[in-house]
């Protein structure tokens, strides 16, 4: 059963560079209890969608229904049942992590005992125990972000919006946060999160939508997206070989000094010979979401340039 359904949602901003079309007739549904991911490059439109669905921003056209309620016409009915980690949010200056969780829950009308119990629980689950009594201005960026995420997850709201929840966190902290997000979904909350970390999307989400230039390019499971690449292995070179040389082996992706080729198992030996001949270092492994994402978004950019 779907808990969120968006129909032809568009948003245009009037900015200095003229009119920006941040969302272009987006249709989307999210099923109840799902851990749903929004994946896309910077400026793709992820935050804009999240803000509209969470009653923070009015759409230019189209409609979003959450719990069957229209978010434009009945925002207050929706607000009772949601919580959001805003993008680039920062906690209250002088409150400790424990106080953040407790005070925010109290302001939302949660009883004192429950608020205290959940604050203790989340502080442990998020690895914040050693910092539980530190005012947030003394915490590093990653710890401040964890505090904010803990505060929102503690609400156990029916629908949780998490806009880049793990930004600025170290790999250990991210895994800890993933676990808490999974627990929230298991406990019945529906989660809509945005990320541009491909490993996060791959490991955490059950279903995802790839957004680019305000449009949804793909909607489905991470596995199905990976299988679209049509190859099983990836080889990543840190220089030494050119994209043109790799092209005969399969789709090639060049990104920030590294070259990746997706290919079949049978051709790995041949590529190894090539790399050794060039003194090039490479690593090899199963195809990841990264190749699928680069293929999908790259194709979309090419199409856009061709039509322009």
């Amino acid at each position: 059963m779907e808990i969120l359904s968006a129909e032809r949602v568009s948003k245009t901003y009037a900015g200095a560079r003229g009119v920006v079309r941040a969302l272009d007739e987006v249709d989307l549904t999210v099923a109840r209890g799902r851990l749903f991911g929004f994946l896309g490059r910077n400026g793709a439109g992820k935050t804009t969608f999240i803000k509209i669905a969470s009653t923070l921003l009015l759409p230019t056209s189209g409609s979003v229904r959450l719990f069957g309620e229209d978010v434009v016409r009945h925002p207050n009915r929706v607000r009772e049942r949601i919580a959001i980690v805003p993008q680039e949010g920062r906690p209250f200056y002088h409150l400790t992590p424990l106080e953040h969780i407790r005070e925010y829950l109290r302001v939302r009308g949660v009883a004192a005992e429950t608020a205290n119990a959940r604050a203790e629980e989340l502080v442990d689950a998020m690895g914040l125990r050693p910092y539980a009594a530190e005012p947030s201005y003394r915490l590093s960026g990653g710890l401040q972000q964890r505090t904010l995420v803990a505060m929102i997850l503690a609400t156990r709201a029916e629908f949780l919006f998490l806009d880049e929840p793990t930004i600025g966190m170290d790999p250990f902290a991210r895994r800890q946060v993933w676990q808490v997000i999974r627990d929230a979904a298991r406990a019945g909350s529906t989660v809509l999160l945005t990320t541009h970390y491909l490993d996060e999307a791959e490991q955490l989400t059950e279903e995802l939508a790839v957004v680019e230039s305000g449009r949804i390019l793909y909607r489905g499971t991470p596995e199905a997206l990976k299988s679209r690449v049509g190859r099983e292995v990836r080889l990543q070179f840190e220089g030494g070989v050119t994209a043109a040389e790799l092209a005969p082996f399969g789709p090639v992706f060049a990104e920030r000094g590294k070259v990746i080729v997706a290919t079949t198992r049978s051709r790995v030996a041949e590529l190894t010979q090539l790399a050794l001949a060039r003194d090039a270092t490479f690593n090899v492994g199963p195809v990841t979401l990264e190749e699928a994402f680069l293929a999908l978004v790259g194709r979309s950019i090419e199409e856009e340039e061709a039509s322009a």
Partner: protein, 254 residues
């Protein structure tokens, strides 16, 4: 949430946003005391003794007016810099609850300074319970007016840097130029009416009258000297700012 729990939420915001930080960071306390106490000190040194009470009332009203400056800066900071307004929008907390909670925090912040001024005033210019009630009422009305104005101004801006000078400018103008620290009699009677363009003048006249100090007697507009009219002026300004804020404030962005 019911109205009762919205009210509890506003008090809760006041607790963690106004009282806790004051408790933790006592330098804030000094910052709040500093300006009005130095004004009062100067007046004590240079002004004739019979004008000193005007100066202390000025300190009280200055402190009440500057809750508006705090409101302006805190609301803008939470909305633009910390994205914290968003966590209250996407929650059962209503906009009026949030605004009231913020305004109460600003009031809580100034309570120690007010206690000091009330004590100085009572020692130098003794007054009874009725006068105290009158003074407190004026302080509360002034706080409401100032925080509403501060919140209204904060909604105009989408960049924090642009806001920095605004509050000091607006609230200094309101508390230093009109007869807040000095008796309105210092202005020629023919020009006293002009002082009433500032809502803070209504507040100062009501406060001074409640402790028996001489107040306005504007020629040409004697009705401005009537306490009922002054009360209406103060409440009216608050209502005006509140209506503008309700219309302009963006709880949900466009």
């Amino acid at each position: 949430m019911s109205y009762a729990s919205q009210a509890r939420s506003a008090l809760r915001i006041c607790y963690f946003n106004g009282i806790l930080p004051l408790w933790r960071q006592s330098t804030l306390l000094i910052a709040i005391f500093l300006t009005p106490v130095s004004f009062v000190f100067f007046l004590f040194v240079i002004a004739p003794r019979d004008l000193f009470a005007y100066g202390v009332v000025g300190g009280i009203l200055f402190t009440a007016l500057f809750t508006g400056n705090g409101m302006l800066n805190d609301c803008a900071y939470y909305r633009l810099e910390r994205q914290l307004q968003q966590v209250f929008v996407a929650s059962p907390v209503r906009s009026t609850t949030f605004v009231l909670g913020m305004a109460l925090s600003e009031l809580a912040f100034t309570l120690p300074a007010q206690a000091l001024f009330f004590t100085i005033l009572w020692i130098t210019h003794p007054f009874g319970p009725a006068a105290l009630a009158g003074l407190l009422a004026v302080v509360l009305l002034t706080w409401l007016m100032a925080t509403t104005l501060g919140f209204m101004i904060s909604t105009f801006y989408s960049q924090l840097r642009e806001i920095w000078p605004v509050g000091t400018m607006v609230f200094s103008t309101l508390s230093v130029i009109p007869p807040v620290f000095y008796p309105i009699a210092a202005i020629p009677a023919a020009w006293q009416w002009a002082a009433f363009f500032a809502p803070s003048t209504f507040a100062s006249q009501l406060a001074e009258r409640s402790i028996g100090l001489a107040t306005a007697d504007p020629t040409g507009a004697p009705w401005l000297g009537v306490p009922g009219v002054q009360l209406l002026g103060l409440v009216g300004a608050t209502a005006l700012f509140a209506a503008a804020a309700a219309k302009l404030a963006r709880w949900r962005e466009r």
